[in-house]
Structure formats: C-alpha cells, structure tokens
Amino acid sequence: MSTMTFGRAINAGLRRAMENDPKVVLMGEDIGKLGGVFRITDGLQKDFGSHRVLDTPLAESGIMGTAVGLAYRGYRPVVEIQFDGFIYPAFDQIVCQVAKLHYRTQGAVKVPLTIRVPFGGGIGSPEHHSESPEAYFTHTSGLRVVSVSNPQDAFVMIQQAIASDDPVLYFEPKRRYHVKGEVDEGVDLGATSMNDAKVVTEGSDVTLVTYGPLVPTAQNAAIAASDDGISIEVIDLRSLAPIDFATVEKSVRKTGRLIITHEAAQSGGLGAEIAASITERCFYHLEHAPVRVTGFDIPYPYSKLEFHHLPDLDRILDGVDRALGRSNSLSSRSGLEG
C-alpha cells in the first residue's frame, strides 16, 4: 500500500504493463521528454526508450491509424489523446477501423489498443479542453469504454484495459489527477474485472449512478443527504460500455428510485441509456421515473460559467429530492409528472 495521486497511479500502471509485456508501446503528442501535458507518462521514455514511448507528429488520425498498423504487427499500443476535444480527428480511424477490424476479419486481427483520454471539465480551460465525449464511443459497437474514479482503480484498470484483446477507451477525469489515495500495487489483476460496476456507498432510499469525475461528488451528496435522513446508494459504473446493468438493477430493485449524473450533455448521453435499460429491466420496481442530472445541451462553455454547466452537489441533491417526490426546484412545474 502506498499513497499516490491519481495521475501517479496511472503512471505506475503503465509502467507495470510495459514491464510485463514488451509489446506494449505508448504513443502520443508530448508524452516523451515532457511526460505529457499532465505528466502521466513522466519518466517512461527515459526508462523504456524512445522506441517504446513515442512522441508522435501532431496528427490524431495519424496516431490512431499507425496504432492500428502496430496492432496488425502484434503490438499493444497505448495512445494518449492530449485532451478530450482533440479526439475527433481520430474519430474515423476509431469508428471505422479500431472498432470494426476484429469483426471485419472474423477475429483474425486483434486490436488490443488502449486509448487514454483525459476528459471532463472544471479546470478553467479554454474551449475543447473540458469535454465529455464518452457517449460517442459507448454507441460504437466493437469498443469497450471505461472510466476511473480513484487511484486504485486507475492503477488496476489501466492494466486491465491494456491486457484486454479488445480496444478500450480509458477515460481519465482530469480534474481529479491531483487527488491522492491508497494504492495497493500488489493486488491481483485477475481478482476484479473492469466490466463490473461497484457500489461505493451503500444506501436504501435511492440509487445514484455515476462515473469518473462525479463519483466523489456523488459520494459527498450521499453524506450531505444522510444529514436529512436520506440514504443514497452510490454506484460507480467503471465500465461505460458495456454497463454492468445487473448491479444497477439490483440496487434499483431495492431502492425503487434512480438518479444518473454525468457531465456530458443530457440529450443522447449515457444517462438516457441507463434510464431506458433500467426501466426495461425493472419497470414495476420503479417508484419514480429515473432522474437525470447532467450537463446542458450546449457546447462546453467558457470557464467563468462552467460550474453552472457541470452538475454539482446541489443539483444532484435537488435531483434526489425529485426522485423521492420531495419538494424540489421543479415541484411546481406544470406539465411535468416527475
């Protein structure tokens, strides 16, 4: 057990993966000498050499496409996308190649690619540096998508993602990089699966589902609500595609109420899929329609306004009140049932 920051935990996980498998290579912009703009790859080029930690030309499609070629050749590339908003030039290679190659070749070609994406807002950055594009990828068949919320998971799941023979998008909540936590580096990687959701706070009145950067916020909401005598069960999804609906379903069968919170825009976001799937699975156990507390349907705003866009403790608690039929901001709204 040692205490380390979130960012350091990913670094340690990458290092471990590189030690264990010489086919693991890292690629990205500024990840070598600089160690990445967030220093996640700090020291790795120095220790493993520039043939395993590649500073690439400034071209995301090029990075992704050459990573596919390296996969053809038996490598396990780990690609860093510098910021969420810079993944789109690689979208074609991800959707048409990374996601489909295994299916296309009936399993002959594996694409064990890991795509690391620092994502989410709250760090006071300009445009394109604070986005939450995960829903584009969870809707893309052939990809796996995970998001981590604490140093221990970060350490373990980066290794599980790299070990997976399927391509994995690994979303890192950049505003939590400096959060510290205990990390057990001796843990058995096979003891857990990155596919499983985790109940991080137990509760009985309402199920609050989230992932990545909002997990601590949700946990704080549970603490705050307990002052009001409300017991919130918080689930950290960890895997966003596929989602471990069995765990969510089990919780909702118990609580009868569901809230989902994420930073991404509401319409077509992951919250919709969770609400729809859980409604399908346990409609008769639901006491209230699933409630979504999310970012608005707007481009990510300039930083002076970003905390209006981002769900926070108060908005989540208002959503909890809504799910529980308690007085809330929309109580008086006409035409709204919930």
């Binding site: 496409g65 050459t66 053809y72 399927d166």
Partner: protein
C-alpha cells in the same frame, strides 16, 4: 469557383522499360533491377496479367448474372498490380484498397476468398495473416496509416520486411494519406506508398485532385518518389524492387506513382459514359498493358501458339474455379452476425444475441402454429 485545369497532373516523364508498341527501352537507372527477368519470367508475368484480367472479366460476369452484389474491376491496371505484386516477398505485408485483386492474386489468395466480400458473404474475404495482406479497405486512404504503423513495428522488431500500401489518385486528397507520409518520414518506416493513378476517382478526373504530378508531393514530406508507366509491367516491377531494397536497407519510405488507366467502370454499379469521353478510353486502349507485353514476347518469339494456349488454359481453369467457388460458397449462419464483435464476452451484446435466439425460436414455433396469420406479417420483409 470553376476548376483550374491549366496545370496537367500527368505531364512528367515516366520510367518506362517497355514502350506501348512492345519495344524494350533501356534505362540506365532501372535495368539492373530487372536484369534477372529471363524469358520464362517474362512469360510468367504475361500469364499473370492474362489470368487476372480473366478473373476480372469472370467476376464482372458473375455480377451481371446476379451472383455478386458488386465488383470493382481492375481492367487496365494489370501491369501496375502484377508488376508491383510480383516484386514482394512473402513476409512483406500489403494494405490495399478494394481494387487490388491482382495484388491479392500475387499474394496467393484463394480464388473463392476474392469474392466473399462482393457476394455479401463476409466483410473480409481472407485471413490477413494467411497471405500477409489486409482485407480490402473501403474508407479511402485509411490503409496508408495502417501500413505505416505496421512498418514502424517491423522497424522496432529489427526485421527487414516491408509494408506496401496501395491507393488511388483520388485518395491522395485525404488527410490520412498525407499524415501517413508525415509519420513514415518521421520514423523512416519501411513502407512503400504505391499510388495507382488511374486518372479517375469515380467521376472525378485526376486534375481535380492534383494540379501537378502526384509523385511531386512526397519529396515535400522528405520521401523520395518515382513516376512510372503503370501499364508497363517490367517498369512497375523495377521501381517496386528498388523501393523494397531501400526500405529493407534502412532507407525508409518511397512513394511510387504508377500512371495507368481505369478502363472499366468504377464498379459494376457505375456508368462511366455519364462523365467521360469515349476518345479517352481509345487513347488508353492503345497503351494496353497486356498488348504491349504480348508484342514484346512476340518479337522475341516467346509467344508461340503453344504458350498462348497454355496461358489460355490456365486462365480458363482459374475462371472456372472462380465461378465454381462463387456459386458453391456456403451461406453464412444467422448467428454469425453476433460473432467477433468482441474477443471477450460482452454483456450488452450477449443479451441481444440471447434475445434474438429466443425470437428466432419463438418465431419458428409461431410459424408452425399460425402459418396463416404470420404470412401477412412477412410481406414487408
């Protein structure tokens, strides 16, 4: 915003070893790359081209007869594909577009595998590792990056294989192709960019994509390039061998522009009479890649009736096997639709497959029960 067509993207001098009339042209720089090509080898190249043209014709016929959904003919591009394809070593790896059936033939593809995609039975006709050739890439230009990445891997492995990527003149406009050149130059990857400039990208003439010869682009990225007569099989062999040698010996990437012509439609779904002149086609027919090698062979007494008959017999046999393989291709199984999306279990998809299996079962039994009422339901399928 009318198109400026002043500059001609086809002005430059070409490497040519066989003139359109069949004369062997000596070339100080490139003769040495084909000095080992003896009479038998020339005859073999001829047979290859005849066979692949025959495959192309047979597949086109199969499409017309409804046995294939689509076919992208390579008619006219035989020399570019056979010349380059025959230069490769088994451990080289090819990343092509959809039109390189001649290259696949050189790689030793199973004939039936050539047709799976076009019959609608598969998204990739062959196991890439069986013939060291990726499946046809539909997304224009995407494969050039795969080749470059593969070549970076070869370099890291300390091997001397080469990745060869094929693409068209139109593809050179795509960002990916240009990024591939950036990466290839950066890492000095052993990759060959083999562009078949067949003068058309569906209905768009090459002049729309490029105002100067396409081969001029690579040097700006730090990549040597060569412009070759793409209808001259010997010249295509020579320039490819030179590029392979450079790549194997640490010299990095090469760009080859093979100037040729797409004599057929873009695919069997296309109607080129809507956009191109019959005259242009005639001009190019005079430079036919097979006719010119035939003329050379003939002049050298290498195309006896016996030889011609033997070549024809081979082509007939190949065509027959192709047709037979097409028609007897087994139908895919329903549940194949769910296979290989992931290499590990996936709870979402597994549930969908399970539901669909139940649906199929339910439907079968419902069918049996109420055949009458269900028949109305099937009308719309």
């Amino acid at each position: 915003m009318p198109l400026n067509n002043d500059a001609d993207a086809t002005q430059d001098e070409l490497v040519q070893l066989i003139a359109p009339n069949g004369e062997r042209r000596s070339n100080a720089a490139y003769d040495r790359w084909v000095s080992d090509v003896d009479d038998a080898a020339l005859q073999a190249l001829y047979e290859d081209m005849i066979v692949i043209r025959r495959i192309d014709a047979e597949a086109t016929a199969l499409q017309r007869q409804g046995e294939l959904a689509l076919w992208p003919p390579l008619l006219g591009q035989e020399a570019a594909q056979i010349g380059s394809g025959r230069a490769l070593r088994e451990d080289d790896f090819v990343f092509s577009s959809y039109r390189e059936n001649g290259v696949a033939y050189c790689r030793g593809v199973d004939l039936t595998d050539l047709l799976r995609v076009w019959r609608g039975n598969a998204s990739a006709g062959w196991d890439p590792y069986a013939i060291n050739m990726a499946p046809p890439q539909v997304i224009i230009g995407a494969q050039t990056l795969h080749a470059t990445g593969y070549a970076m891997g070869v370099l890291a492995d300390g091997a001397d294989s080469v990745a060869v990527t094929y693409f068209g003149d139109g593809a050179t406009s795509q960002g990916d192709v240009n990024e591939a050149m950036v990466f290839a130059a950066s890492y000095q990857a052993p990759v060959i960019f083999f562009c078949q400039n067949n003068h058309w990208a569906i209905s768009e003439p090459v002049g729309l994509q490029a105002h100067v010869p396409i081969a001029h682009r690579a040097p700006g990225f730090g990549i040597p390039s060569v412009r070759v007569d793409g209808n001259d099989v010997l010249a295509c062999l020579a320039v490819t061998r030179e590029a392979l040698d450079r790549a194997r010996t640490g010299g990095g990437p090469t760009f080859i522009e093979a100037v040729t012509y797409r004599m057929g439609p873009h695919t069997t779904a296309d109607d080129p009479t809507r956009y191109r002149d019959a005259n242009e086609l005639e001009d190019w027919a005079a430079k036919d890649p097979i006719a010119r090698l035939a003329a050379l062979l003939d002049a050298r007494g290498l195309l006896s009736a016996e030889v011609a008959d033997s070549v024809k017999a081979t082509a007939d046999d190949v065509a027959a096997r192709l047709r037979e393989g097409c028609i007897s291709m087994p139908e895919p199984q329903v549940l194949d639709v769910f296979k290989h999306v992931y290499s590990e279990p996936n709870s979402w998809l597994d549930r969908q497959q399970d539901s669909y299996e139940q649906y199929l079962k339910y439907f079968d039994s419902a069918d049996a029960d109420t055949a009458a009422s269900n028949s109305s339901r099937e009308v719309n399928r």
